[in-house]
Amino acid sequence: MSQLRSDWPLFEVFLRGKRGLNHVHVGSLHAADAQMALRHARDLYTRRNEGVSIWVVAASDITASSPEEKDPFFAPAGDKVYRHPTFYDIPDDVPHM
């Protein structure tokens, strides 16, 4: 059995598909450091011009909400229907609304 283990940390990869769009998460990869992660991300995730800009971030540096706290965590937005334009009744004949 092989005793070799890869110590290379995991990086998450975000791509901007083209100018005017946000960076979007596309996957992850292992690299020795951030510079190598960028190069690997180029080779792995943009072989067909899928991106014009790449972000990489060490997976261990990401703080995420937990699915278990789903309801309480997102509750503050749940009961504020007045934040949406459809909450307000405006007669149909009012133009440009």
Partner: protein
């Protein structure tokens, strides 16, 4: 976690599946689901990685610069597909080094098709046409897999597989316009790869005990036999257009079923190859193990360099 909590979590999981929504990495999921998805993704990833070898065999002997560039791009894609999939498996808590270890110690499997040798350049074309064609049949429904990261990886992969199949078919069309020797090479490659391609869909439904559970979980969308039939129906007209004969005397259109009937598959051969007795099993694993071990100093040097840069 209390028993009541677990019942609630399970209900939430099952409702998510029932609504055809995706399960995401940090969601609660039953251990059986997690393990089944990890095993399926790992087996798929290993297939892509081992799948580089049969075609990589021909890179140095490609007949033209054009074919060489195409073949290199294709083999690079296989590496990329393997890495997308390992990345998806890691979102479930699998460890990359551990997956590699399981492959090179034969504790996890890869597709039996890659244990067949590539004897001529026509094999490169037939692998693109039949093997990648069968893979596409298998993979398109997986773009709707219930596990989000797997489904998203499959969408990327399917887009790229289309190039693989088309380059293979174009290569074969070119050879079929060539000399009688070249035409005979295409027929020979077709003869050798047809049946193993049909085996890629796995054992028949009545010998595939986990299919029902996997379909219930949305990990699998169609049975092995359904996908195999779909592949045969798609491929017969392509073979006719190409001018090759598929090596099955019982292959004929069945108007009543609206499908092609085909002859029995040699499942003994399939199980022998899966078990390790195919023509190239040990060669494939040995090559992968050597590549991994030969690369150890590069991985170690890179991490040493990175640590030094941080210390500076």
């Amino acid at each position: 976690m209390t028993a009541v909590d677990e019942v609630e979590l399970r209900q939430h999981f099952e409702a998510t599946i029932a609504h055809d929504q995706r399960i995401e990495p940090r969601d609660w999921m039953p251990d059986g689901y997690r393990n089944t998805v990890i095993r399926q993704i790992a087996q798929h990833a290993h297939s892509e990685i081992i799948g580089m070898q049969p075609e990589g065999n021909w890179i140095t002997r490609a007949p033209s610069l054009r074919r060489k560039a195409i073949l290199i791009a294709k083999v690079q894609d296989e590496a990329g597909h393997g890495l997308y999939l390992y990345s998806a498996a890691e979102t479930l808590g699998a460890d990359r080094a551990d997956l590699t270890d399981k492959l090179i110690t034969s504790r996890q499997k890869y597709s039996s098709i890659f244990n067949y040798p590539t004897m001529s350049y026509a094999d490169v074309g037939v692998i693109g046409w039949l093997v990648d064609g069968a893979a596409i049949c298998n993979q398109v429904p997986l773009c709707r897999s219930s596990y989000g990261p797997y489904a998203r990886a499959m969408i990327r992969i399917c887009k790229e597989e289309s190039f693989h199949q088309r380059q293979g078919y174009e290569l074969l069309m070119t050879m079929m316009r060539g000399t009688t020797e070249q035409q005979a090479m295409v027929q020979d490659a077709t003869d050798r790869f047809w049946w193993p391609s049909l085996m890629m869909f796995g054992p028949p439904d009545d010998a595939s005990p986990n299919t029902a559970r996997s379909m219930g979980w949305g990990i699998k969308r169609h049975t092995n036999d359904e996908l195999r039939q779909r592949f045969v129906d798609m491929t017969v007209p392509q073979a006719q257009k190409l001018g090759v004969t598929l090596p099955d005397a019982q292959l004929r259109w069945n108007g009543e079923r609206g499908h092609y009937d085909f002859g029995p598959i040699d499942w003994q051969e399939f199980f022998a190859v899966v078990k390790g007795d195919g023509p190239c099993n040990s060669q494939r694993i040995e090559h992968r193990r050597r590549a991994h071990e030969d690369g150890a100093w590069v991985r170690e040097a890179a991490i040493a360099h990175a640590r030094k840069a941080v210390a500076r």
